[in-house]
Amino acid sequence: MGCSSSLPDRSPGRVGGLNPDNGGDSDAKNLRVKLVLLGDSGVGKSCIVLRFVRGQFDPTSKVTVGASFLSQTIALQDSTTVKFEIWDTAGQERYAALAPLYYRGAAVGVIVYDITNPDSFHKAQYWVKELQKHGSPDIVLALVGNKADLQEKREVSVQAGIEYAEKNGMFFIETSAKTADNINQLFEEIAKRLPRPSPS
């Protein structure tokens, strides 16, 4: 179990042919899923992705404009692999109208807030609603409270996160891109919750 970027980039068993970008298009052993990260500017979306894909924490991430794309494959215990194609979006309010471009057809929506910033928690709830209403019908949603290493500055309680997530049928986790806490778990848990295509 765990992350591995050394896996082949294209999943075996899918040579050639068109792959419409619909997220669920994969075989039973090798899933390919489109994942979108949404949330306020500065909550740490880019850092989470960089931690997951490159295994590093760069305290000097760059401001995201529009969105950026990265992919990473993980192997699960049942010897299936999941290739995440990740859209890391820009958080500033005025970019919101672009969001549908990125979440269209996404199999997973990861909505991030900063546990030291209550406004970002409210913003997260806005994104949850938008995705519930306009995302793919069977989208897997995760609510992520990031910067969990900043306990002394916490302003959103764990309980608040859990309750909101439960009410909305989402998976909830607190992470720290800085210490790497729960970053791999986040993606592994998502992988487990993905609807599997029936083996052929």
């Binding site: 050639g16 042919g17 068109l18 792959n19 419409p20 970008d21 619909n22 390919r32 500017s41 500065g42 760069d58 000097t60 991430s61 760059k62 401001v63 995201t64 404009v65 529009g66 969105a67 950026s68 794309f69 992919s71 194609e85 820009a90 500033q92 005025r94 970019y95 109208a97 672009l98 549908p100 471009l101 990125y102 057809g105 609603k129 938008e130 209403k133 306009h134």
Partner: protein
């Protein structure tokens, strides 16, 4: 507390030499990745060939400098400005010599303005000098002085973004660099409160500072860019101008590369997935610095259509490869690899301006057409979100 910064010259020198690597055959075979500083001080990672290309570019820049100095010797120090002024004077009696000069100038600019002349040429040809001349001399100092302690949503976002703008740059990522970028952006956010601050402008302002060397001139370049060079509303509240440009670009690609456009569409690839960042950062986040600056050389002289030339050229250069892709991820990978390694500006600009003859299109008509569509869409989104809000509250 507040000190006058307008005359401050950025203590950052254009790097005239980079370590010349004499690659052994082994290094070449091993495709070693090396880190080095480019002309504007950015750390780039590339292989040995990339370093050599950068050195060649430097040599070409020197040659290009000679061509410019020769013109100055021949036609006088401000020849380009007179040429520009008389060619926009809209007289039917354009003298032949003016036309010849104008064509020479256009060609010279497409071949690149030498970095040492850039501040002067940009400032006069973009219209920034003229803009500045319409207000009192103390405008920039007064503006930045008056607003330095104010806190607005714009200033908050700017403060968050300063350390995340070209991190690691030897001057931009220092307290002095942050302070300079901050004053330019905060100043502008008060000059135009419809724009305020839009993410992406941080990269643009930073590059302008590196080139112009003084905050005040960087500020006026930013102003002329947003107010005159680019289409309006690119950076305002809902980015409507940017949405319009994206749609116009999409249509252009369909026209110029119909096969590619169809192929991309089948995979569900929308060009704005990559082009939004290009148009908002004016390529500064995607292309190597000197290549970006070469695009801006032409942008400031010929206007916003240049962004289409360049964006189209990137797709055109990789058309064959892109036609073989099977997924959105593959497309993005190819595009990103291409843009990050375009160390030779001429490779890109030749395609953009010589090989693509697409400006038969009436851009303003296209823009008008798309404007209506974009406005309707943004409006619809707003209404949709408002109704869902009501439902949540009620």
């Amino acid at each position: 507390m507040y000190t006058t910064q307008k005359k401050m010259v950025i203590p950052f020198e254009i790097q005239t030499e980079i370590t010349i690597l004499r690659p052994s055959i082994h290094a070449r075979r091993a495709n070693l990745v090396v880190k080095f500083q480019d002309l504007y001080g950015f750390t780039v990672e590339g292989n040995v060939d990339d370093v050599n290309i950068l050195n060649e570019v430097r040599e070409k820049v020197r040659e290009q400098g000679k061509a410019w100095w020769a013109m100055e010797a021949n036609k006088g120090a401000n020849w380009y400005f007179h040429t520009y002024a008389s060619s926009i004077a809209l007289t039917s009696s354009l003298r032949f010599s003016v036309l010849v000069n104008a064509m020479t100038l256009k060609k010279l600019i497409r071949k690149g303005i030498p970095p040492s002349l850039r501040p002067k040429v940009w400032f006069s040809l973009s219209g920034a000098a003229k803009k500045k001349s319409t207000v009192p001399d103390s405008y920039y100092d007064d503006l930045t002085g008056a607003v330095s302690d104010k806190i607005t949503p714009a200033t908050k976002q700017i403060d968050h973004d300063l350390p995340r703008t070209f991190p690691g740059h030897p001057w931009l990522d220092t307290p002095a660099g942050h302070a300079a970028v901050r004053r330019v952006l905060v100043g502008y956010s008060f000059r135009d409160s419809d724009v305020g601050y839009c993410q992406g402008l941080n990269y643009v302002a930073a590059m302008l500072l590196l080139v112009m060397k003084t905050e005040e001139e960087a500020f006026w370049m930013l102003a002329v860019l947003l107010e005159n060079v680019l289409v309006s509303d690119c950076y305002t509240d809902n980015l409507s101008g940017c949405h319009v440009e994206q749609r116009v670009f999409k249509d252009l690609l369909t026209k110029k590369c119909p096969r590619l456009s169809t192929h991309l569409e089948t995979m569900g690839f929308d060009v704005s997935l990559v082009a939004t960042e290009w148009f908002l950062c004016l390529f500064s986040k995607s292309l190597p610095s000197e290549t970006t600056m070469r695009v801006w050389d032409v942008l400031f002289y010929e206007g916003a259509k240049v962004l289409f030339n360049v964006a189209l050229a990137i797709f055109k250069m990789k058309e064959e490869e892109l036609l073989m892709t099977h997924s959105v991820g593959d497309v993005i990978k190819i595009i990103q690899d291409t843009t990050h390694h375009l160390f030779d500006p001429d490779e890109l600009l030749t395609v953009a301006f010589d090989k693509l003859n697409f400006m038969t299109t009436n851009l303003s008509k296209q823009r008008k057409k798309q404007e209506t569509v974009v406005m309707a869409e943004l409006d619809q989104r707003l209404r949709r979100l408002n109704t869902s809000k009501l439902r949540v509250n009620g």
